[in-house]
Symmetry: C2
Subunit: 215 residues, 2 copies
Amino acid sequence: MTGDARISQLKPGRRTDIRRENERVILDAAEKVFAEAGFGGATMQLIADMAGLPKANLHYYFATKEDLYRRVVQQIFEIWLNAAMLFDAAPGPVEGIGGYIDAKMDISRTHPSGSKVWASEVMHGAPVIQDYLETTLRDWTDGRIAVIQAWIDDGKMRPVNPRHLLYLLWATTQHYADFGHQIQTLNDGAPLSDRQWAEAKASVKDMVLRGIGAI
Amino acid sequence: MTGDARISQLKPGRRTDIRRENERVILDAAEKVFAEAGFGGATMQLIADMAGLPKANLHYYFATKEDLYRRVVQQIFEIWLNAAMLFDAAPGPVEGIGGYIDAKMDISRTHPSGSKVWASEVMHGAPVIQDYLETTLRDWTDGRIAVIQAWIDDGKMRPVNPRHLLYLLWATTQHYADFGHQIQTLNDGAPLSDRQWAEAKASVKDMVLRGIGAI
DNA sequence: TCGTTTCCTGACCGTATGGTCAAGGTGAAG
DNA sequence: CTTCACCTTGACCATACGGTCAGGAAACGA
Protein backbone atom coordinates (compact mmCIF):
# COMPACT_ATOMS: atom_id res chain seq x y z
CA MET A 1 0.00 0.00 0.00
CA THR A 2 2.69 2.47 0.98
CA GLY A 3 5.02 1.21 -1.72
CA ASP A 4 3.19 2.74 -4.64
CA ALA A 5 4.29 1.07 -7.85
CA ARG A 6 2.92 3.96 -9.86
CA ILE A 7 6.23 5.77 -9.99
CA SER A 8 9.14 3.57 -10.87
CA GLN A 9 11.72 6.29 -11.21
CA LEU A 10 15.03 5.20 -9.79
CA LYS A 11 17.23 8.22 -9.82
CA PRO A 12 15.74 11.62 -10.62
CA GLY A 13 12.23 11.63 -9.13
CA ARG A 14 11.88 15.13 -10.47
CA ARG A 15 8.72 17.06 -9.99
CA THR A 16 8.27 17.22 -13.73
CA ASP A 17 8.47 13.44 -13.77
CA ILE A 18 5.61 13.22 -11.30
CA ARG A 19 3.55 15.48 -13.48
CA ARG A 20 4.45 13.67 -16.65
CA GLU A 21 3.79 10.27 -15.15
CA ASN A 22 0.43 11.22 -13.67
CA GLU A 23 -0.70 12.91 -16.84
CA ARG A 24 0.26 9.74 -18.68
CA VAL A 25 -1.75 7.54 -16.29
CA ILE A 26 -4.76 9.84 -16.46
CA LEU A 27 -4.69 10.13 -20.24
CA ASP A 28 -4.49 6.36 -20.67
CA ALA A 29 -7.41 5.83 -18.34
CA ALA A 30 -9.39 8.60 -19.98
CA GLU A 31 -8.83 7.16 -23.45
CA LYS A 32 -10.29 3.84 -22.36
CA VAL A 33 -13.25 5.31 -20.54
CA PHE A 34 -14.09 7.77 -23.30
CA ALA A 35 -13.89 4.95 -25.84
CA GLU A 36 -16.14 2.67 -23.83
CA ALA A 37 -18.72 5.18 -22.68
CA GLY A 38 -18.47 8.14 -25.03
CA PHE A 39 -17.86 11.67 -23.87
CA GLY A 40 -21.26 12.08 -22.28
CA GLY A 41 -21.30 8.64 -20.70
CA ALA A 42 -17.81 8.94 -19.26
CA THR A 43 -17.53 10.31 -15.73
CA MET A 44 -14.54 11.83 -14.04
CA GLN A 45 -15.07 9.39 -11.19
CA LEU A 46 -14.81 6.42 -13.57
CA ILE A 47 -11.62 7.80 -15.08
CA ALA A 48 -10.23 8.50 -11.63
CA ASP A 49 -10.96 4.95 -10.47
CA MET A 50 -9.34 3.46 -13.56
CA ALA A 51 -6.31 5.71 -13.07
CA GLY A 52 -6.12 4.81 -9.39
CA LEU A 53 -6.28 8.45 -8.30
CA PRO A 54 -8.83 10.51 -6.41
CA LYS A 55 -11.12 12.52 -8.60
CA ALA A 56 -9.91 15.83 -7.24
CA ASN A 57 -6.44 14.95 -8.42
CA LEU A 58 -7.61 14.74 -12.02
CA HIS A 59 -8.82 18.29 -11.76
CA TYR A 60 -5.42 19.33 -10.53
CA TYR A 61 -3.86 18.19 -13.79
CA PHE A 62 -6.78 18.81 -16.13
CA ALA A 63 -9.04 21.72 -15.35
CA THR A 64 -12.19 20.31 -16.92
CA LYS A 65 -13.51 17.10 -18.41
CA GLU A 66 -13.45 18.78 -21.79
CA ASP A 67 -9.78 19.70 -21.44
CA LEU A 68 -8.97 16.09 -20.66
CA TYR A 69 -11.00 14.90 -23.62
CA ARG A 70 -9.30 17.39 -25.92
CA ARG A 71 -5.89 16.08 -24.93
CA VAL A 72 -6.99 12.51 -25.58
CA VAL A 73 -8.22 13.33 -29.05
CA GLN A 74 -5.10 15.31 -29.93
CA GLN A 75 -2.96 12.40 -28.81
CA ILE A 76 -4.82 10.08 -31.17
CA PHE A 77 -4.55 12.49 -34.03
CA GLU A 78 -0.76 12.45 -33.76
CA ILE A 79 -0.68 8.67 -33.94
CA TRP A 80 -2.72 8.81 -37.13
CA LEU A 81 -0.37 11.32 -38.67
CA ASN A 82 2.75 9.37 -37.78
CA ALA A 83 1.36 6.27 -39.46
CA ALA A 84 0.61 8.36 -42.49
CA MET A 85 4.23 9.15 -43.16
CA LEU A 86 4.79 5.68 -44.64
CA PHE A 87 3.02 6.97 -47.66
CA ASP A 88 5.72 9.34 -48.74
CA ALA A 89 8.90 7.31 -48.80
CA ALA A 90 7.35 4.69 -51.06
CA PRO A 91 8.27 4.28 -54.73
CA GLY A 92 4.83 3.02 -55.70
CA PRO A 93 1.39 1.97 -54.54
CA VAL A 94 2.37 -1.56 -53.56
CA GLU A 95 4.82 -0.32 -50.97
CA GLY A 96 3.04 2.95 -50.17
CA ILE A 97 -0.54 1.81 -49.86
CA GLY A 98 0.40 -1.68 -48.76
CA GLY A 99 2.57 -0.28 -46.01
CA TYR A 100 -0.11 2.20 -45.04
CA ILE A 101 -2.64 -0.60 -44.67
CA ASP A 102 -0.19 -2.56 -42.53
CA ALA A 103 0.44 0.45 -40.32
CA LYS A 104 -3.22 1.37 -39.92
CA MET A 105 -4.17 -2.23 -39.17
CA ASP A 106 -1.45 -2.42 -36.55
CA ILE A 107 -2.75 0.74 -34.94
CA SER A 108 -6.27 -0.66 -34.96
CA ARG A 109 -4.96 -3.61 -33.00
CA THR A 110 -2.72 -1.74 -30.57
CA HIS A 111 -4.78 1.43 -30.11
CA PRO A 112 -8.42 0.43 -30.50
CA SER A 113 -9.57 2.89 -27.84
CA GLY A 114 -7.93 5.79 -29.60
CA SER A 115 -9.60 4.91 -32.86
CA LYS A 116 -12.98 4.71 -31.16
CA VAL A 117 -12.61 8.07 -29.49
CA TRP A 118 -11.69 9.60 -32.83
CA ALA A 119 -14.65 7.96 -34.53
CA SER A 120 -16.99 9.11 -31.81
CA GLU A 121 -15.66 12.64 -31.99
CA VAL A 122 -16.16 12.83 -35.76
CA MET A 123 -19.59 11.20 -35.58
CA HIS A 124 -20.72 13.85 -33.13
CA GLY A 125 -19.70 16.61 -35.51
CA ALA A 126 -16.10 17.03 -34.40
CA PRO A 127 -16.89 19.75 -31.84
CA VAL A 128 -13.37 19.62 -30.48
CA ILE A 129 -11.14 18.96 -33.48
CA GLN A 130 -12.95 20.73 -36.27
CA ASP A 131 -9.96 22.99 -36.86
CA TYR A 132 -7.68 19.97 -37.23
CA LEU A 133 -9.97 18.57 -39.89
CA GLU A 134 -9.94 21.86 -41.77
CA THR A 135 -6.19 22.37 -41.66
CA THR A 136 -3.90 19.44 -40.93
CA LEU A 137 -6.13 16.65 -42.17
CA ARG A 138 -7.15 18.53 -45.29
CA ASP A 139 -3.55 19.34 -46.16
CA TRP A 140 -2.45 15.78 -45.56
CA THR A 141 -5.31 14.47 -47.68
CA ASP A 142 -4.53 16.80 -50.55
CA GLY A 143 -0.88 15.77 -50.43
CA ARG A 144 -1.70 12.08 -50.50
CA ILE A 145 -4.14 12.56 -53.35
CA ALA A 146 -1.34 14.18 -55.31
CA VAL A 147 0.96 11.24 -54.61
CA ILE A 148 -1.66 8.75 -55.73
CA GLN A 149 -2.40 10.77 -58.83
CA ALA A 150 1.30 10.75 -59.65
CA TRP A 151 1.34 6.98 -59.39
CA ILE A 152 -1.64 6.83 -61.70
CA ASP A 153 0.04 9.17 -64.17
CA ASP A 154 3.13 6.96 -64.05
CA GLY A 155 1.02 3.94 -64.91
CA LYS A 156 1.76 2.27 -61.60
CA MET A 157 -1.93 1.72 -60.86
CA ARG A 158 -5.33 2.06 -62.48
CA PRO A 159 -7.00 5.45 -62.66
CA VAL A 160 -9.22 5.32 -59.60
CA ASN A 161 -10.58 8.28 -57.67
CA PRO A 162 -7.79 8.92 -55.11
CA ARG A 163 -10.12 10.54 -52.59
CA HIS A 164 -12.51 7.62 -52.45
CA LEU A 165 -9.56 5.27 -52.30
CA LEU A 166 -8.40 7.08 -49.18
CA TYR A 167 -11.87 6.86 -47.67
CA LEU A 168 -11.94 3.13 -48.38
CA LEU A 169 -8.56 2.73 -46.70
CA TRP A 170 -9.56 4.70 -43.63
CA ALA A 171 -12.89 2.97 -43.34
CA THR A 172 -11.60 -0.55 -43.73
CA THR A 173 -8.57 -0.34 -41.49
CA GLN A 174 -10.34 1.53 -38.70
CA HIS A 175 -13.29 -0.85 -38.90
CA TYR A 176 -11.16 -3.50 -37.22
CA ALA A 177 -10.82 -1.19 -34.20
CA ASP A 178 -14.15 0.64 -34.12
CA PHE A 179 -16.21 -2.48 -34.78
CA GLY A 180 -13.82 -4.80 -33.00
CA HIS A 181 -16.57 -5.93 -30.68
CA GLN A 182 -18.79 -6.95 -33.58
CA ILE A 183 -15.90 -8.75 -35.26
CA GLN A 184 -15.08 -10.51 -32.03
CA THR A 185 -18.69 -11.59 -31.60
CA LEU A 186 -18.74 -12.99 -35.15
CA ASN A 187 -15.49 -14.78 -34.27
CA ASP A 188 -17.26 -16.88 -31.62
CA GLY A 189 -16.54 -14.25 -28.99
CA ALA A 190 -12.78 -14.59 -29.20
CA PRO A 191 -10.42 -11.77 -30.16
CA LEU A 192 -8.67 -12.27 -33.47
CA SER A 193 -5.56 -14.39 -33.07
CA ASP A 194 -2.18 -13.45 -34.49
CA ARG A 195 -2.90 -15.68 -37.44
CA GLN A 196 -6.32 -14.11 -37.97
CA TRP A 197 -4.89 -10.61 -37.85
CA ALA A 198 -2.32 -11.59 -40.42
CA GLU A 199 -5.09 -13.02 -42.57
CA ALA A 200 -7.09 -9.82 -42.19
CA LYS A 201 -4.16 -7.65 -43.22
CA ALA A 202 -3.35 -9.89 -46.16
CA SER A 203 -6.97 -9.98 -47.30
CA VAL A 204 -7.38 -6.23 -47.16
CA LYS A 205 -4.11 -5.60 -48.95
CA ASP A 206 -4.94 -8.21 -51.56
CA MET A 207 -8.38 -6.83 -52.33
CA VAL A 208 -7.32 -3.19 -52.31
CA LEU A 209 -4.11 -3.55 -54.31
CA ARG A 210 -5.95 -5.69 -56.87
CA GLY A 211 -8.80 -3.24 -56.89
CA ILE A 212 -6.53 -0.39 -57.87
CA GLY A 213 -4.58 -2.49 -60.32
CA ALA A 214 -1.30 -2.24 -58.45
CA ILE A 215 -0.76 -5.99 -58.52
CA MET B 1 -37.71 16.50 -41.68
CA THR B 2 -39.67 16.17 -38.49
CA GLY B 3 -42.10 18.95 -39.08
CA ASP B 4 -43.90 20.43 -36.16
CA ALA B 5 -47.25 19.70 -37.74
CA ARG B 6 -47.48 16.75 -35.45
CA ILE B 7 -50.95 15.56 -36.11
CA SER B 8 -52.33 16.05 -39.57
CA GLN B 9 -55.16 13.57 -39.29
CA LEU B 10 -58.32 14.85 -40.88
CA LYS B 11 -60.85 12.11 -40.64
CA PRO B 12 -60.09 9.16 -38.41
CA GLY B 13 -58.12 10.63 -35.50
CA ARG B 14 -58.07 7.18 -34.03
CA ARG B 15 -56.45 6.64 -30.70
CA THR B 16 -54.05 4.19 -32.21
CA ASP B 17 -53.17 6.79 -34.82
CA ILE B 18 -52.29 9.30 -32.15
CA ARG B 19 -50.08 6.76 -30.47
CA ARG B 20 -48.47 5.65 -33.70
CA GLU B 21 -47.85 9.18 -34.87
CA ASN B 22 -46.36 10.35 -31.58
CA GLU B 23 -44.15 7.32 -31.29
CA ARG B 24 -42.97 8.03 -34.82
CA VAL B 25 -42.16 11.66 -33.99
CA ILE B 26 -40.37 10.70 -30.80
CA LEU B 27 -38.35 7.93 -32.43
CA ASP B 28 -37.23 10.21 -35.24
CA ALA B 29 -36.15 12.89 -32.80
CA ALA B 30 -34.44 10.34 -30.60
CA GLU B 31 -32.51 8.88 -33.52
CA LYS B 32 -31.10 12.28 -34.36
CA VAL B 33 -30.23 13.21 -30.81
CA PHE B 34 -28.68 9.84 -30.00
CA ALA B 35 -26.64 10.06 -33.20
CA GLU B 36 -25.43 13.57 -32.46
CA ALA B 37 -24.76 13.24 -28.74
CA GLY B 38 -24.41 9.53 -28.04
CA PHE B 39 -26.50 7.69 -25.48
CA GLY B 40 -24.84 9.33 -22.51
CA GLY B 41 -24.82 12.79 -24.02
CA ALA B 42 -28.42 12.68 -25.13
CA THR B 43 -31.01 14.00 -22.69
CA MET B 44 -34.71 13.35 -22.63
CA GLN B 45 -35.25 17.10 -22.58
CA LEU B 46 -33.28 17.49 -25.83
CA ILE B 47 -35.27 14.75 -27.51
CA ALA B 48 -38.49 16.24 -26.22
CA ASP B 49 -37.59 19.67 -27.59
CA MET B 50 -36.72 18.24 -30.99
CA ALA B 51 -39.96 16.26 -31.02
CA GLY B 52 -41.94 19.32 -29.97
CA LEU B 53 -43.41 17.55 -26.96
CA PRO B 54 -43.11 18.02 -23.21
CA LYS B 55 -40.62 15.69 -21.59
CA ALA B 56 -43.26 14.01 -19.48
CA ASN B 57 -45.04 12.99 -22.64
CA LEU B 58 -42.03 10.98 -23.79
CA HIS B 59 -42.23 8.98 -20.61
CA TYR B 60 -45.86 8.29 -21.33
CA TYR B 61 -44.90 6.47 -24.53
CA PHE B 62 -41.48 5.18 -23.54
CA ALA B 63 -40.95 4.20 -19.95
CA THR B 64 -37.24 4.91 -19.79
CA LYS B 65 -34.47 6.48 -21.85
CA GLU B 66 -33.04 3.02 -22.35
CA ASP B 67 -36.33 1.70 -23.72
CA LEU B 68 -36.41 4.53 -26.22
CA TYR B 69 -32.83 3.89 -27.22
CA ARG B 70 -33.50 0.19 -27.63
CA ARG B 71 -36.33 0.90 -30.02
CA VAL B 72 -34.15 3.23 -32.07
CA VAL B 73 -31.43 0.64 -32.44
CA GLN B 74 -33.87 -2.11 -33.35
CA GLN B 75 -35.39 0.13 -36.00
CA ILE B 76 -31.97 0.63 -37.59
CA PHE B 77 -31.17 -3.04 -37.47
CA GLU B 78 -34.24 -3.82 -39.56
CA ILE B 79 -33.18 -1.35 -42.22
CA TRP B 80 -29.81 -3.05 -42.43
CA LEU B 81 -31.41 -6.44 -42.82
CA ASN B 82 -33.78 -5.30 -45.53
CA ALA B 83 -30.92 -3.92 -47.58
CA ALA B 84 -29.15 -7.21 -47.16
CA MET B 85 -31.75 -9.14 -49.06
CA LEU B 86 -30.41 -7.87 -52.37
CA PHE B 87 -27.62 -10.31 -51.91
CA ASP B 88 -29.72 -13.39 -52.40
CA ALA B 89 -31.58 -12.86 -55.64
CA ALA B 90 -28.37 -12.15 -57.54
CA PRO B 91 -26.85 -14.55 -60.04
CA GLY B 92 -23.30 -13.42 -59.39
CA PRO B 93 -21.03 -10.99 -57.51
CA VAL B 94 -21.45 -8.14 -59.98
CA GLU B 95 -25.17 -7.93 -59.35
CA GLY B 96 -25.11 -9.19 -55.77
CA ILE B 97 -22.24 -7.26 -54.31
CA GLY B 98 -22.67 -4.33 -56.66
CA GLY B 99 -26.31 -4.06 -55.70
CA TYR B 100 -25.48 -4.42 -52.04
CA ILE B 101 -23.00 -1.56 -52.27
CA ASP B 102 -25.61 0.59 -54.00
CA ALA B 103 -28.17 -0.20 -51.33
CA LYS B 104 -25.82 0.40 -48.39
CA MET B 105 -24.57 3.65 -49.88
CA ASP B 106 -28.14 4.82 -50.36
CA ILE B 107 -28.91 4.04 -46.74
CA SER B 108 -25.81 5.92 -45.65
CA ARG B 109 -27.17 8.94 -47.45
CA THR B 110 -30.79 8.69 -46.36
CA HIS B 111 -30.31 7.33 -42.83
CA PRO B 112 -27.00 8.71 -41.58
CA SER B 113 -28.29 9.07 -38.03
CA GLY B 114 -29.31 5.47 -37.85
CA SER B 115 -25.92 4.31 -39.01
CA LYS B 116 -24.24 6.46 -36.39
CA VAL B 117 -26.37 5.14 -33.58
CA TRP B 118 -25.57 1.62 -34.67
CA ALA B 119 -21.87 2.38 -34.84
CA SER B 120 -21.92 4.02 -31.43
CA GLU B 121 -23.78 1.08 -29.94
CA VAL B 122 -21.27 -1.43 -31.30
CA MET B 123 -18.29 0.72 -30.32
CA HIS B 124 -19.52 0.79 -26.75
CA GLY B 125 -19.68 -2.99 -26.61
CA ALA B 126 -23.22 -3.47 -27.91
CA PRO B 127 -24.80 -3.44 -24.43
CA VAL B 128 -28.28 -3.36 -25.93
CA ILE B 129 -28.10 -5.49 -29.06
CA GLN B 130 -25.54 -8.11 -28.15
CA ASP B 131 -28.12 -10.86 -28.66
CA TYR B 132 -28.85 -9.59 -32.18
CA LEU B 133 -25.17 -9.80 -33.02
CA GLU B 134 -24.98 -13.35 -31.73
CA THR B 135 -28.06 -14.60 -33.51
CA THR B 136 -29.48 -12.70 -36.45
CA LEU B 137 -26.30 -11.00 -37.61
CA ARG B 138 -24.21 -14.12 -37.22
CA ASP B 139 -26.70 -16.21 -39.16
CA TRP B 140 -26.95 -13.62 -41.91
CA THR B 141 -23.17 -13.37 -42.11
CA ASP B 142 -22.72 -17.13 -42.35
CA GLY B 143 -25.32 -17.28 -45.09
CA ARG B 144 -23.68 -14.54 -47.13
CA ILE B 145 -20.26 -16.14 -46.71
CA ALA B 146 -21.72 -19.32 -48.17
CA VAL B 147 -23.12 -17.39 -51.12
CA ILE B 148 -19.78 -15.72 -51.79
CA GLN B 149 -17.95 -19.00 -51.45
CA ALA B 150 -20.30 -20.52 -54.00
CA TRP B 151 -19.51 -17.70 -56.41
CA ILE B 152 -15.81 -18.37 -55.86
CA ASP B 153 -16.29 -22.07 -56.44
CA ASP B 154 -18.15 -21.29 -59.66
CA GLY B 155 -15.23 -19.19 -60.85
CA LYS B 156 -17.30 -16.02 -60.84
CA MET B 157 -14.73 -14.17 -58.73
CA ARG B 158 -11.27 -14.58 -57.28
CA PRO B 159 -10.79 -16.63 -54.14
CA VAL B 160 -10.81 -13.91 -51.50
CA ASN B 161 -11.68 -14.34 -47.84
CA PRO B 162 -15.46 -13.79 -47.82
CA ARG B 163 -15.57 -12.65 -44.22
CA HIS B 164 -13.05 -9.89 -44.72
CA LEU B 165 -14.78 -8.91 -47.92
CA LEU B 166 -17.97 -8.41 -45.92
CA TYR B 167 -16.11 -6.33 -43.35
CA LEU B 168 -14.67 -4.19 -46.13
CA LEU B 169 -18.14 -3.67 -47.57
CA TRP B 170 -19.67 -2.74 -44.24
CA ALA B 171 -16.81 -0.45 -43.32
CA THR B 172 -16.64 1.39 -46.60
CA THR B 173 -20.34 1.93 -47.16
CA GLN B 174 -21.08 2.95 -43.57
CA HIS B 175 -18.06 5.25 -43.55
CA TYR B 176 -19.99 7.67 -45.75
CA ALA B 177 -22.59 7.99 -43.01
CA ASP B 178 -20.56 7.64 -39.82
CA PHE B 179 -17.77 9.91 -41.02
CA GLY B 180 -20.03 12.09 -43.11
CA HIS B 181 -18.96 15.16 -41.18
CA GLN B 182 -15.31 14.52 -41.95
CA ILE B 183 -16.09 13.88 -45.60
CA GLN B 184 -18.12 17.05 -45.75
CA THR B 185 -15.31 19.04 -44.17
CA LEU B 186 -12.87 17.67 -46.74
CA ASN B 187 -15.40 18.64 -49.40
CA ASP B 188 -15.02 22.34 -48.53
CA GLY B 189 -17.78 22.09 -45.96
CA ALA B 190 -20.47 21.17 -48.46
CA PRO B 191 -22.48 17.95 -48.40
CA LEU B 192 -21.76 15.64 -51.30
CA SER B 193 -23.84 16.56 -54.33
CA ASP B 194 -25.86 14.05 -56.32
CA ARG B 195 -23.01 13.83 -58.76
CA GLN B 196 -20.47 13.29 -55.99
CA TRP B 197 -22.58 10.56 -54.43
CA ALA B 198 -22.80 8.84 -57.78
CA GLU B 199 -19.05 9.15 -58.14
CA ALA B 200 -18.57 7.69 -54.67
CA LYS B 201 -20.80 4.72 -55.41
CA ALA B 202 -19.13 4.11 -58.76
CA SER B 203 -15.66 4.37 -57.23
CA VAL B 204 -16.41 1.96 -54.43
CA LYS B 205 -18.06 -0.54 -56.75
CA ASP B 206 -15.22 -0.26 -59.24
CA MET B 207 -12.49 -0.80 -56.68
CA VAL B 208 -14.28 -3.61 -54.86
CA LEU B 209 -15.48 -5.54 -57.89
CA ARG B 210 -12.02 -5.27 -59.45
CA GLY B 211 -10.46 -6.25 -56.17
CA ILE B 212 -12.40 -9.48 -56.05
CA GLY B 213 -11.93 -10.18 -59.75
CA ALA B 214 -15.60 -9.96 -60.57
CA ILE B 215 -14.97 -7.53 -63.42
C1' DT C 1 -75.59 13.37 -21.85
C1' DC C 2 -72.62 10.48 -19.03
C1' DG C 3 -68.82 7.20 -18.11
C1' DT C 4 -64.53 5.37 -19.31
C1' DT C 5 -60.33 5.10 -21.43
C1' DT C 6 -56.54 7.33 -23.28
C1' DC C 7 -53.69 11.20 -23.61
C1' DC C 8 -51.31 15.37 -21.83
C1' DT C 9 -48.28 18.13 -18.78
C1' DG C 10 -46.52 21.35 -14.97
C1' DA C 11 -44.47 20.61 -10.88
C1' DC C 12 -41.78 17.95 -8.22
C1' DC C 13 -37.96 14.59 -6.28
C1' DG C 14 -33.76 11.84 -5.40
C1' DT C 15 -29.51 11.19 -7.27
C1' DA C 16 -25.22 11.65 -9.64
C1' DT C 17 -22.16 14.61 -11.80
C1' DG C 18 -18.59 18.22 -12.81
C1' DG C 19 -16.21 21.17 -10.38
C1' DT C 20 -14.30 23.78 -5.99
C1' DC C 21 -11.72 24.50 -1.92
C1' DA C 22 -9.09 24.61 2.07
C1' DA C 23 -6.11 22.09 4.73
C1' DG C 24 -2.38 19.14 4.82
C1' DG C 25 1.65 16.43 2.85
C1' DT C 26 6.26 16.19 0.41
C1' DG C 27 10.77 16.99 -1.13
C1' DA C 28 14.49 19.74 -2.34
C1' DA C 29 17.09 24.07 -2.01
C1' DG C 30 19.30 27.40 1.03
C1' DC D 1 15.72 23.57 10.31
C1' DT D 2 13.08 26.65 7.41
C1' DT D 3 11.10 27.90 3.31
C1' DC D 4 8.56 27.39 -0.64
C1' DA D 5 6.66 25.46 -4.56
C1' DC D 6 4.25 21.69 -5.84
C1' DC D 7 1.29 17.83 -5.04
C1' DT D 8 -2.79 15.34 -2.70
C1' DT D 9 -7.45 14.71 -1.22
C1' DG D 10 -11.84 14.43 1.68
C1' DA D 11 -15.61 17.12 1.95
C1' DC D 12 -18.56 20.03 -0.10
C1' DC D 13 -21.77 22.57 -3.58
C1' DA D 14 -24.79 23.88 -7.41
C1' DT D 15 -26.74 21.97 -11.19
C1' DA D 16 -28.88 18.95 -14.34
C1' DC D 17 -30.68 14.75 -15.20
C1' DG D 18 -34.01 10.65 -15.41
C1' DG D 19 -38.07 9.64 -13.73
C1' DT D 20 -42.76 10.27 -11.04
C1' DC D 21 -47.32 11.80 -10.19
C1' DA D 22 -51.64 13.93 -9.72
C1' DG D 23 -54.89 16.21 -11.92
C1' DG D 24 -57.02 17.73 -15.98
C1' DA D 25 -58.24 17.53 -21.11
C1' DA D 26 -59.73 14.95 -25.19
C1' DA D 27 -61.65 11.26 -27.44
C1' DC D 28 -64.62 7.80 -27.82
C1' DG D 29 -68.90 4.38 -26.86
C1' DA D 30 -73.53 4.06 -25.20
